[in-house]
Amino acid sequence: MKRKIPNAPPRWADRMLEWYCDPSILDEVQGDLHEAFFARQSRIGILKAQLLFIYEVLFSLKWRNRKRYQIHSFNSFTMWNNYFKIALRNFSRHKLYSFINVFGLALGIACVLLLTLFVINENNYDRFHTNANRIFRIAQKLKDAQGVVIEHSASLPWAAGPALQTDYPDVVNVRMYKAWQKSPLINYEELEKGFYEEEVFFVDTTFFRIFSFPLVKGNPETALKNPQSVVITESMATKYFGDADPMGKTLELENALELTVTGVAKDVPSNSHFHFDFLIPLLNIGDIFQATGNQWGWTGWYWNPVHTYVLLPERYTELTFNDELKKFVAKNFPEGLRDENELHTQRLTDIHLRSNLYQEIEPGRSESSIQIAISIAAFILLIASINFVNLTTAQSTQRAKEVGLRKVMGSTRSKLITQFFSESILLCVLSFALALGLMALCLPAFEGLVETQLNLEQLIKPDLVVIVLLCVLALGVVAGLYPAILLSGYQPVKILKATGTSSTGGFAALFRKSLVVLQFTISVVLVISTIIIFQQHQFLTEKSLGFAKDEIVMIPIQGTTIKQKRTDFKNELKKNSQVVAACAISDILGRDVPNRPFGIPGYDDRQDLPGLFTDHDFVQTFDVDLIGGRDFNEDNANDVNTFIINKAMLEVLKDKQWENQPIQWGSQPHPIIGLVDDFHFADLRQTVRPLFIGFADSFLGYIAVRVRPGDVMATIRALDETWRLFEPERPFIPFFLNDELNQIYKAEKNMGAVVSTFSGLAIVIACLGLFGLATYTVNLRVKEIGIRKVLGAAVHDIVGLITKDFVVLVVVANIIAWPLAWYVMDKWLGSFVYRTEIGWWIFALVGALTLIAALLTTGFQSLKAASMNPTEIIKEE
């Protein structure tokens, strides 16, 4: 069917014109267009004329033709004034509500801001370098013959850096070598100050061309040019030189290498993935090795302790440079290593959160902790917003009369919605201001909790400020949405005629109740998780490791003469009656033991297995369980070339025969003389692996001394005196093995502390909301309570009546939360090899706790109502 084209310009275009154009010019524009349309219609046909009309309408929608709105300033301003006044009156009439509303929300926002700051800080690691997005670290994958990655290391062999320099002269690279397994001694002779320093880095002279660490004194171009120079941080300058100018002063490294201070750097910001205190040029590797007691002294392609970074020029992308690295390996790595090695780049900015390789300089943080922080922040904000919504809807009944009257006086629904929105936005803005104060107040405590320094300036960025403000506005709108729509929908006649109770029953009440259940479900899950995280941490720190760790004092001996005279030293120690036994040892037992190649009878190749080195009395000192054979014995001169194994090693040995089996170590076969029960020589995230315990003179890094419990401090003073007999030049810095091992589970402890703090806050906020709701209910039923009392109800009847409703909600929340919490925590515990049991008592305890909290918060209000004099309440009306 052919539609008849109407003999007129398209209506919609016409309407658009009318909608857009200011009335003062509409006559001229619209009139001219119409006239032209009719004139053209006869000339070129209706369709063309219509198209032309639309075209001309579109071109008439010019900025200068736009409709100028007349602002009805007088009336509108008065109404806003009125809304504001009513809002303030409402706040002051219901001080408690308003306080709970504002404070609860403020607490929530403050938590979210703090956690946001934390997340931003974690994501901003290493971004302060000018070329951050062009700096890459090169990592090394070492594979065995089957292609299985056996080592994925953050550091490269010594020779890689210089070879890169030769092959790719435009790629700036820097090597950083941190004294291996040892804290070198640094001395300032003049003031006789000496400390063992952890953060000593030996770096190539290109260091400052790649990294942008600002120097306070000295020139970054030349500071590292001279082999015997050192750049120190500001805090080190104060530590060694006080207020004196450090430039040109001489520090001594390990009493062997004199270094002139050529630069003072600002302290490394906390959001850097490494924190140097000393930078020493890597020009005289020989001297450095000698000074740091490194006996390997070898700079080839095998030993890989140097972290190597590159600054890529524009002509490479990350992808193309990785291709170059393949060629580089094939060209430079020696025969036999070529096929087993793979190099690849890591973005500098990814190292903190997304790299957890062997030989990281500092432990990073896992992305999961960031996700935990984000989800906790979201939960807390949700709980606080629910309070806000609940209290506002609950309160709404009391505003019903106001709404009715406003409608009668000519207010429209949209105006009422505006009013309630503006009220809730006002509350949000108030809360936000309060939250900023709370955040500033809690920042130091929070920094301690997450053990990072946070920089408030990171929050003050225009885009972020806009986002936060928009979020606050959105929160106001969302929180005000339900009350605004509910309240504005009231029929004035109904409200004004009857007592307005329409929102206490039915849907509104159900909505409110389910929100309360949601709040408590989240809180209960958080609290249960907290307890389980703590339990797991407790479990890990208290689990018997199979060796004595509590009374072990570790004395570092690397680079000292005690290493050679250790038998004398041990004999001297043993003269002290408080010393049970002592032995030298290569690694910190309980941390980890590195793999080393051992030749085992029945295997063709050497096997890479954990190898611990120690000397006489190892079994006695660590009190490990000797199942068969004997300890390394001083009386038996042959024991210096023997092994003890653990039970797990039996599985590796052919036929489980261990006694006197010759184990190839170095060029010599050494017999096995002892078998000990399994003990946790590595952390509890791993199962016990097979272990060789060898007797050796090299590798030894510590003397472990088992002391009798009691006055341990006095014993340590005695040890110090013995130390001074042997090493008067060096400070005596022992540590307790136990303390050192507890550091391993710091991540769990840290996470536990964060989660527990914030789940505590979640409960507090949820209870605040409950308290507000209880107050509201009591107010609503105050007459009923009065009449019940007159008719003979006892106080406890009335308290029960009021609290019952809330108790039911909390019970329901618990029932929902328990399986949820169990599921989540069971998954989390699944990542541990050794895990605590989730006891039913945790659920019972948390259930009881939340019930008590609910009873206390609601009971207080109902008790107050129940003890009122009924005549006071019902005398009116």
Binding site: L26, D27, E28, V29, A39
Partner: protein, 109 residues
């Protein structure tokens, strides 16, 4: 002082003068433009130029009659102001002066 006249502005000013006996308004100016210049121009373009001329004080306008063909809308009728006439004259004279200076030989007919 002199007011800068764009080429289209000058043309439309002249068209308004030509239309002196009839009403000079959007549609009639656009029609005259088509007739005299043999080129089409859209109504909004005419409006834009007229507003610009009015802002410069070169034209004056009054609201005229409504008619059914205009959907009951009134016309806005434009007349050239004294300033407009002076600007046209100045423009013409400066052109003529330049024309007079052009050597006769270089004018290709």
């Amino acid at each position: 002082m002199s007011v800068q006249l764009g080429s289209l502005e000058e043309t439309i000013l002249l068209l308004i003068l030509i239309l002196k006996n009839d009403d000079a308004y959007g549609v009639s100016i656009a029609d005259a433009y088509f007739e005299k210049m043999n080129k089409t121009i859209s109504i909004p373009a005419v409006h834009t130029v007229l507003k610009r001329l009015e802002d410069k004080g070169l034209v004056k306008s009054v609201l005229g009659d409504a008619s059914p063909v205009r959907g009951g809308k009134r016309k806005r009728i434009y007349t050239v102001s004294k300033l407009g006439l002076r600007a046209l004259n100045e423009s013409k004279e400066s052109r003529m002066m330049l024309w007079n200076m052009v050597p006769a030989t270089s004018i290709v007919k």
